[in-house]
Symmetry: C3
Subunit: 466 residues, 3 copies
Amino acid sequence: MVRHLVTIDDLSEAEIEAIFGLTDEILAQTATPDKPYRVHGRLPWAGDFILATLFYEASTRTRFSFESAMFHLGGNVLSSADPKTTSAAKGETIADTIRVLENYADAIVIRHPQEGSVRVAAEYADVPIINAGDGGHEHPTQTLCDLYTLRREKGSLKNLNVLLWGDLKNGRTVHSLVYGLARFGARIIPMPAEGFGLPEHVTRRLLRDYDCVPLAKEEVQDSASDEFPVDVVYVTPDKPHQRSLFSDVKEKGPDVLRARLPHNALSKIDACYVTRLQKERLEGDASASDYPVVDLQFLKDRRYKQSSVMHPLPRVDELGYDLDNDARAVYFKQASYGVPVRMALVAALLNIKPGILGAAAPKKKHFVYTRQTVHCDNLRCVTALESEQRYLSPKYLVIVEDDRLTSRCVYCEHESIPEFVGRTSTKKYEPNRMRWDTVPDDIVLFHDEATAIAAGFQPYKHKVKV
Amino acid sequence: MVRHLVTIDDLSEAEIEAIFGLTDEILAQTATPDKPYRVHGRLPWAGDFILATLFYEASTRTRFSFESAMFHLGGNVLSSADPKTTSAAKGETIADTIRVLENYADAIVIRHPQEGSVRVAAEYADVPIINAGDGGHEHPTQTLCDLYTLRREKGSLKNLNVLLWGDLKNGRTVHSLVYGLARFGARIIPMPAEGFGLPEHVTRRLLRDYDCVPLAKEEVQDSASDEFPVDVVYVTPDKPHQRSLFSDVKEKGPDVLRARLPHNALSKIDACYVTRLQKERLEGDASASDYPVVDLQFLKDRRYKQSSVMHPLPRVDELGYDLDNDARAVYFKQASYGVPVRMALVAALLNIKPGILGAAAPKKKHFVYTRQTVHCDNLRCVTALESEQRYLSPKYLVIVEDDRLTSRCVYCEHESIPEFVGRTSTKKYEPNRMRWDTVPDDIVLFHDEATAIAAGFQPYKHKVKV
Amino acid sequence: MVRHLVTIDDLSEAEIEAIFGLTDEILAQTATPDKPYRVHGRLPWAGDFILATLFYEASTRTRFSFESAMFHLGGNVLSSADPKTTSAAKGETIADTIRVLENYADAIVIRHPQEGSVRVAAEYADVPIINAGDGGHEHPTQTLCDLYTLRREKGSLKNLNVLLWGDLKNGRTVHSLVYGLARFGARIIPMPAEGFGLPEHVTRRLLRDYDCVPLAKEEVQDSASDEFPVDVVYVTPDKPHQRSLFSDVKEKGPDVLRARLPHNALSKIDACYVTRLQKERLEGDASASDYPVVDLQFLKDRRYKQSSVMHPLPRVDELGYDLDNDARAVYFKQASYGVPVRMALVAALLNIKPGILGAAAPKKKHFVYTRQTVHCDNLRCVTALESEQRYLSPKYLVIVEDDRLTSRCVYCEHESIPEFVGRTSTKKYEPNRMRWDTVPDDIVLFHDEATAIAAGFQPYKHKVKV
């Protein structure tokens, strides 16, 4: 059973902890006292293995960190840095590329502009696939590095106050990170640039899939005079078995939760995670003329006295150069941790270090829908590529929400809400406005009524006006 | 004596067999039972060596297969994937590039858009040069992989029925393959897309240089009602010493040969070799709107029941994705064999495994013409590049045909027929319409009469009207 | 204390000699008798190390020579060949790129189009930085190879007659070379293409910083009838302690020096260093329609009988292909020496071979000026890049000349002459036309009077007319 890392959810919390434990061990064996965050020399665990890096988008940093990790493990590297030098230029599909390359390399790192593309690669590969960024979707090894940095610098992730700063709308690293923070029990404090807040699909997922509870500013701060400009804080249960407690919160309101929070919980920010404006993903005429800056001046506020300042890098203007020599600046260390974390990940995926990964990936708990009645409406989804449509059948997870079904593309994880829902057994359809306990096997989803009728379905009971 | 692989003819049949034997040995030592076609781990034969890959044209697949092979041999790799990042941009010639790089690497793999360019490199190198594709000319390691796949899947190449499908006009892999098939005694069955048949120069060479005999469809099929849509089959002698028998064929007609063919020889196709339309080599407004497709439907014909389906990849639309899980589809295995075959080739060329290659390359049996009275009329020939004309003297093989001399460019192997032929001893010229037993040392070739006269030659006997 | 190689002046003469001694040792251990200039096999000194090559400008040759050197040392290589695939495309600064990459690699080789950029990298790195060419500024490892080739082929550099041929204006390799030749006591004989002579800043530096004495042709040649078309020869003291002797020369005229020169000193040229026209650095409509050619004909002159013909390559038309098989042609050997020289350099910088480099780089003997009253007026200087201005403070060395102060940019080493000079203690300024013994700490430099006045300074004594 080959394991992949396409989204951070492909690893269970226990597996992530095991990878971090191995990272600690690697640093203990290789780092010097003056640079406890940097690997020196070889741990020749992967001497028999070849890692391929396949980058369809520019990145020296991420590619080098993987290749350096592989060299430190004693292995070899096949490197493709440039989109134009690949067979994709001759019209080759992702599935074909992978089924050839899996014979040349023992694991493959992919960066690709199309969202969901790396999931496609993983479906066709029998060597481990690692996502190094698939468009605006995910960049899970960055998230591993971010979480490891927080854990290493702060001892634990539990109940940390993590401020997210800047472009929270377009940054895939931020989206992966918030899910990771939620899973490990940190408190998430978004402080976006104006117009660059967390997208609705991310906040919805935080609440629905990761049991976060959004508390308004006034619910977590003692003093009305506190000028801390946050609108909301996402608080997560300490442990999965406490989720029942959070059901209480949903019913009884935030008082239950506030009682459990320490006094003036936001008086101390443990980490500021700063992100640049993702110019390359801006749509149309969007811009950010007054993108805010984190610098020494900003960090003068007493609440930032112990804040680790993180950044996935590269930075542009949003992070002051005056911070570089400040003890709170950990962004270069964060980049350095990328090597041991990726060494641990590669060692785990190649099964050089058995027992790090469990027998199987975390279970998918949703119904998988494969009928071709709907399509993913994310234009950046890999399923929108003509070349991939030659062989790829769209698939969706059907998620039961309170009063409807939501479909999530298995590849890009974009969610949409079908207008109508039918059953093949009855050949009837109805508006998607019901509570379902479980999703029946014969369910059919429709974007619109015309499609339902064209498929030979009849309205349930009476004709529905839309 | 350094050996190179520029065209498949640079290796004798015995040498190719020895390389395949070493490939078998490599797989026996490294492959696992579940994937007997894939190399795992290192055979550290080339630990002291460096291989350079110099790609002036896009290819991740071929480059990676060489680099993977070198890593499996324990060696190192210098990699240049992008034409624009080379010194060629500063106007450097092929000869100079090679004479520098031969000091940095122990063997050099080259892909270059100009036909014959890799032969130039080999002329100037004192380390082995391997052709990874020189324009539309040759791609001999692909041919080695193709032949090895056939041999491995079918046990032997002798008397195999190999169907060639698609664009037989522009594909260099197909041209090299037909010569290889001919040399090992397979039967060649072209089934081109309309307008994409084997070029005349290839079929001429099949007959003249490889002793193939073309049999029309009705000569090899018993039943007139057989709907098998082939026009011709190229049949080759079992062994070189049987060539006399084939002289008989030429004189006595195909009856002699048909008598030696098994009953209904085409009722079983051993392999279908499918090729994509070589869009990047299409001239002018050529296109292929209804390029045929090999898929499960096509293979339903009983004659394909045991056919191995091969493809050099990448595919576009000409090979159905429905075949991918069919046991007859060997194209991904074929790609996988690329690693052990190239390991064996590199080990042989670096003389790590002595005795694989004989003391010298197969003998050239033709007269070498070096006078500058003619030029290669192939516009894609390396001799047409202004940069290479600084130092490169065109050379031609003079081939004796039944009623004329043909000149073949030593570099791109393009053949042309000089209009006139002269002798320096007599200073006379005459039309190129004679039978020669051997080519005299003082021969002079002319494209036209004006050139002959300008060179001070007189017509032989009487003025010839053209 | 980390050492870098950004300009050839970063190494003392003794250090360069030690590197050449190690190069000899490397060749003694690895070269075969038939190719005494080429490294074979591995000297696994750097097995634990990773070298990164970061090329923002095209070069296969230089990149490969470094990577080959690292492989011969048993190390690994991270390779970035293409400017467009780096984070610079996202707006990352040099300082940030380096501070990330220093965690992934143990030494970093950089080629960058901006002059001075590699000095910036070195300022921010805590691993060794090696300059592989920063715009038109320096290419010091080429100079090491050139000097090593001369020393190896001629036994010593002292009193060698080295002819420099071609484009002496734009070639960074030539500029570094003349400084290196001067330091090791060779005689420099410029023979530029018309309009492509050594720039004034280079000749000024030769005289001022390296104690060269320019002798006119008639001063070094016995016979007026000698047709040797040189205008000037730069002669250097044999050893630093002889510089006093050269002070004599300056005062007493060239007679003193001529007496020390051998009879007819230019009758024998030890080496011709040929350079191509640097087309990519030509400004505006400059061209060189009749760029001169060194070929067998040129070398027929008796004075070239023993000349080693060198060239940094790639060549275009300026070096005849007819020379390639002449024993005097050493340019391919010169390229080959690049591997062992770079092996020695890397081993020294990584401190694998301790004792090669002294405890510290050669001392800077000039005052360092950091006030922001002037800017570097070299448009190709790294300080002119908007991205780098975010964090980079210009710095200048203030050089005391006979009747003025000159400022030299610490990064690109471009020199300029401030119009005015002031003192912060007096708040007065005056024209830069004085003799200074030492530069006072409170000095202020101004490009123009308006700037001085705007900064609150008053003219010294009386208003100066410019």
